[in-house]
């Protein structure tokens, strides 16, 4: 669960930056911005799941 998640996000970041360069070449600036937003949103969804898991674990362990 843990280390491949890190690689997934790093790979996503590099992929997005490559796509951005390609889009810049094709003079499609706005698509490049949209793509960055999509990438950030995807990673945010992963983070929200992890934070949710962290909070439920902390609540159960510390007996809230």
């Amino acid at each position: 669960m843990d280390i491949d998640l890190v690689f997934k996000i790093a790979g996503l970041g590099i992929l997005i930056s490559v796509f951005n360069m390609v889009l810049k070449q094709a003079e499609k600036e706005e698509q490049a911005q949209m793509l960055t937003l999509v990438g950030v949103i995807i990673v945010l969804m992963v983070i929200i799941q992890l934070i949710n898991q962290l909070f439920t674990n902390v609540r159960s362990i510390f007996g809230f």
Binding site: G13, V40, V43, F62
Partner: protein, 129 residues
């Protein structure tokens, strides 16, 4: 023993990848460092549960009132989470938000501590003539 190697490995790989991504997409490198932090915290939680069980057994054996132990656990949980959020905000340079989070954490811990302070004061008052 293996867990510490796993955690250190994740941390180092995470920081290296965060630096690599920083030049292309700074915001993604921040998100990546948050994810690495979350993963390490999640790995630690199972170890903390073991420590808490041992402390709980000792507390029940020494027949200490469990309410105090529960409060201590809550204080530790609050500091655990606020420290996590505080360091993230600090890391990005948002000192303003970081200080607010730390202040909030202190206030919640103070609120938790009030019943214990009252109990101590009452016991002290009984001692006085």
């Amino acid at each position: 023993m293996v867990e510490i190697i796993q955690i250190v490995g994740i941390g180092i790989i995470g920081t290296i990848l965060a630096v690599v991504i920083k030049q292309y997409k700074p915001e993604l490198s921040l998100l990546l460092s948050i994810v690495v932090g979350l993963i390490i915290l999640l790995l630690l939680l199972s170890r903390i549960a073991v420590i808490i069980d041992v402390m709980e057994n000792l507390a029940t054996k020494a027949n200490i009132d469990l309410i105090y132990f529960k409060t201590i656990l809550k204080v530790i949980a609050i500091s655990y989470i606020t420290e996590f959020a505080y360091k993230i905000c600090e890391d990005t340079g948002q000192h303003n938000i970081a200080m607010k989070i730390q202040l909030a954490g202190r206030i919640f811990i103070m609120i938790l501590g009030i019943p214990i302070m009252l109990a101590i004061l009452e016991s002290v008052m009984q001692l006085l003539p």
